[in-house]
Symmetry: C2
Subunit: 204 residues, 2 copies
Amino acid sequence: MTEELLDGRRERGRRTRESILATAVDLASVEGLEGLTIGRLASELRMSKSGLFAHFGSKEDLQLATIEAAREIFVRTVVQPALAADRGLPRLAALLEAKLEYLREGVFRGGCFFDAARMEYDGRRPGPVRDAILEQFADWSKLVADCVRAAQREGHLDPAVDAEQVAFELDAIPTAANMRFQIDRDEAAFALARRAIEARLAAL
Amino acid sequence: MTEELLDGRRERGRRTRESILATAVDLASVEGLEGLTIGRLASELRMSKSGLFAHFGSKEDLQLATIEAAREIFVRTVVQPALAADRGLPRLAALLEAKLEYLREGVFRGGCFFDAARMEYDGRRPGPVRDAILEQFADWSKLVADCVRAAQREGHLDPAVDAEQVAFELDAIPTAANMRFQIDRDEAAFALARRAIEARLAAL
């Protein structure tokens, strides 16, 4: 086989894998990661189970690849746009606004992939899937707290307040908005969230 | 059979059912309501599936009875003690504190039964189980907002602020604390939550 044919085959394999994972993250965001079996995904994609096994050797492989795919989407739609804003309060506000927009737009069909996964796995036994989910949450929490600290250094927020406390309070708001919006699809949840974030930031 | 024997049998049946449901709520709070099948519960209880079918005719019956049992426990441990506090701000503060204590004490093994169930079912198709979960959330949200409005009427909180807004912001805090605590069992999450609630109430 020529290099060109091999490259074409690799490229097709990569694209197939990406399109499988796009369906997998949506499905997991609605039905949970634990329900994401090779069989369930095969029926959703109208593919054979053996076809899927060629891409993911086990349910755990599939779950881990799905978490990684969700992380890439989240970074692209929430984190990267916010990092384009000016350091300090503008970046912190942009990060929270991007999180709300990601929830409102329904980037994942079932709302926040990570909040849902965290709620599903927090009480379960340790293992690679649970570890991967908790690592995402730790990264996100650190990013919010780092943005608060940067805003303090820039003189935009009172340096005397506890950055972890402020990050906890701010991050609670999009999660609450997501849980409300998922129930009735009423965008009023985001208006509540925006007012809450603005008031909290204004008070500092 | 005499009335006395019949009464004894009914009483034993009621106690058995209660003890089955106590296990069911714990199991569902960890593994999710969707995973709560007659078979899974039978293996947890070391009972026969047919023995369980005598109490619950279907998975859906079992799920609905489990939600009702969780509701009774929540009302007994969170709502009723808070209603003993004085009307207005004391009652609102007692309600939020009772919610935090219920989470800290681990009344349900997997954290807040209702937050977990809500996150699990919000994206699913309408049905009796989803309806029962959303009804609990609506009742709870209304209770928090009613307590805010009562505190405004008593002159304890600024009557000009939007009670729904305040209720949304306050209720976001225990949920965020629960999600953090479930990860690492670090009670620091409740210290963050208490400071957040105190600061929010003091600002009004």
